[in-house]
Amino acid sequence: MSGPLLAGVGALTGALPTSVPASLTELGETSTGETVLFWVVAPLMVLAALGLLFARRAIHAAMCVVFVMISLAVLYIAQDAPFLGIVQIVVYTGAVMMLFLFVLMLVGVDASDSLTETIRGQRWIGLIFGVGLGALLVGVVTRATYAVPVGLLEANAVSNPVGIARLVFSDFLFAFEVVGVLLVTAALGALVLTHRQRLSRRVGQRERADARVAAGGSLTPLPAPGVYARTNAMDVPALDPQGRPIETSISRVLRVRGQERGVADVAVQLGPGEHGGGQVDRPTPEAGDPGETAGPTTPITTGRGPEVVP
């Protein structure tokens, strides 16, 4: 991944004018332009970095980091490391942070985004020792005595990428090769880690059908509700050939809620005028009573219409 990239970057930086090296004064002071640049960029970077700590949403944190990294690229270039600056932008903001964003998309918003602390004391420990660490490092860095800065004018005499290339392909050749191996390994590792092996057999249409037959029960779709001669309401059960209501024909939800109606309810609602038979005064027995419908001579009374004697 990095081979052609590096070549491109090399071509790019090679084309840059070499006449803008950041020079240092005799005492190691930076030029005024660089100072201004630093004091503009550095506070912003620190603020963005703090965004990592305090941003509620991961995506905001990621954008803060992107900003810090681009700023770093600027600082690299200001420090006579144009090659690294470009690589920083390409590799970090272009590749690494994009990866982060992809993963964020994959994971989505998570409860862990919240800033509430779950481990007792962890917040105070983190803050105190985080600040302590910073103070310690700053103390070390500021108290140290440095030689007068040399600057990279000499080292970058041909150009910065050429100087780095000379070193990489001579002194650091072996490390370079090893890093290449490391990249391949990492790619393979990512493949292996994200690969998910199927643990059970794939369930297709055939398997589902077989399972359904094996489980028994009704293979056909359930009967539709409603006594079509009188009503096609969803809450009235269908009737079987004996005139008994079929409970399963009503939606389970209605049954659970107790909102279904009996056949009798529908029958009572019918007015005499709506009916041609004229026998509606006769009280309609509760349909579905097995004792009533057992014998063939017993008139089957349904809400469907005039009584039929088979």
Binding site: I119, Q122, I125, G126, F129, G132, L133, L136, V140
Partner: protein, 664 residues
Amino acid sequence: MTSTIATVTAAPLPGAVLPGAVPADGTFTQAWLLIALPLLGAAVLLLAGRRADRWGHWVGVAASAGSFVVGLLLLIGLLGRDAEDRVLDLHLFRWIPTGPLDVDAGLRIDPLSLSFVLLVTFVGTLIHVYSVAYMEHDVDRRRFFAYLNLFVAAMLVLVLADSYLLLFVGWEGVGLASYLLIGFWNQHTPNAVAAKKAFVANRIGDLGLLIALMLMVATFGAVDFDTVLAAAPGAGEGVLTAMGLMLLLAACGKSAQFPLQSWLGDAMAGPTPVSALIHAATMVTAGVYLIVRSGPIFEGAPTAQLVVVIVGAITLLFGAIVGCAKDDIKKALAASTMSQIGYMVLAAGLGPIGYAFAIFHLVTHGFFKAGMFLGAGSVMHGMDDSVDMRRFGGLSRYMKITWLTFAAGWLAIIGFPGLSGYWSKDLIIEAAFTGEGWRPWVFGSAALLGAGLTAFYMSRLFFMTFHGRRRWDDGHGAEQDVAAAPVRHPHEAPLLMVVPMVVLAVGSVALGGLLALGDGFVTWLEPVTGHVEHHEPVLPVWLIIALTMLLVLVGAFLAWRQYAVSTVAVPAPAGSALTRAARRDLHQDAVNDTLLVQPGQYLTRSLVYGDRTVVDGAFTGLGKVLVGAGDAARRVQTGFVRSYASTMTIGLVVLGVVVLATRI
């Protein structure tokens, strides 16, 4: 008692009370066979397992009989020697060579030990034979004979040992055999409990023997009879008293003397031949043997001697009273045994004057008591293992031989003139009346009273069993109107059981007179007990005999009137307070329970409590502390990556600060 010592005529060897042992030679070198034979028999029977079931019992009989034959040969050999040379020592092997204390295992063959050997092997062999028939239907008969042989071997070690330590081995051996045989039918819990009780009571006695052994090692630096007994007169009276009391404690444990007598009644849970051999004839007399053997120690400690006599007198009366109330035929006989051994201990406590009489009575008692126990076994055999005398009665018509042999034993024990018991017990009563001050009157009266009581309870036992009306159902109803009379079919025992009974009955009748002939037995024992001049009792001898006879007659008559002529109530009547107490062994168990068992249990419980709280508490506390520490340390391991990261950061910062702080 000091006067008694003063009157002891010095034994033949000058400067020593008793003759020292001379090395064994000739026949006597084979004396180890006495022990080896029954031991081998026991080993064969125990190791052969079920294969020996069919013939094993005869191996047991043969081992015991072989031992008796060897004993007989030794007797002949010993009789052929001069009286002074009759104390022999057979060195077997160096046993415990520790330098300061060397103990050799050896056998001491002298008239005393040989008397015991003959008693044990002769009676033992007869009882072996009896057991062949008695235990015929027991699936574990082979094991029974193995234990019997083991007992015989251990008993022979006890009596033949030439040192207190080897004696202790035999002492423990007979304890073990007794335990195994009492609990022979240990599938019944009461039997197992009885065995345990006997074992524990014996352990108390063994503790006494052990302490005595330690005192001997501390005082004399030796435990063999020769050294200890020769040095005893030179030791301080305090040490000798302590030693004597400890030996007495041992004797009390083994011989069921007051206050350790409670186990003997329960020991009747064992098979009847065991009761006959171990708990009547032989093992329980080991205490008497120990006291007689340790004569010089007791002679140097008059206090201990007095305690011995007191213990003997108490037990004598105690056993007699208990015997009057017991309805269990075996327990009545056990009480009688206790009482008779009380006589022996009393005699042994009288000093040299009584030693020979004690052993004499021991031998005759071994015969007639074993005979009566075998008779009781025969009765049980015929009466479906029933032991309740109130359910017997009128058995004389059904088991004639048993009746006759039992009658011989009965007459012998109550001291019917001419029979064994008469010769031996009368001598003890006479000896008890010998001495000065209050003692002869007290102990003599006790012995006299005991004789009367003996006559009563033995006659009661005899009449209740063999005479009076039948209180059982022979299939046509009982003679006496008894509710729920059990149906029994009494019959005479098989020949193998009858023959030993007859032999022992003959012994009961004739042995006493035979041994008393011309003071033969007393003279025979002289090499061990020392020669004693005859002393005049405080009462004329004829008066003592007359009084004894009178009391015996009264006792026997009372028993005859109450148990043979009048009707015996089948459910035992409530009786007087004394009767009720006697039925319960004069509350001995309750006393033991209150005085020893319960405090012991409290002690144990408090110790257990202490162990649980203090000792266990310390350890579990330590464990809890460690667990707590681990728990606390575990909290550090939260499993949260961020916690570990904190740890790293903290470490980094602290390390950095430390490094910088030292540099600045």
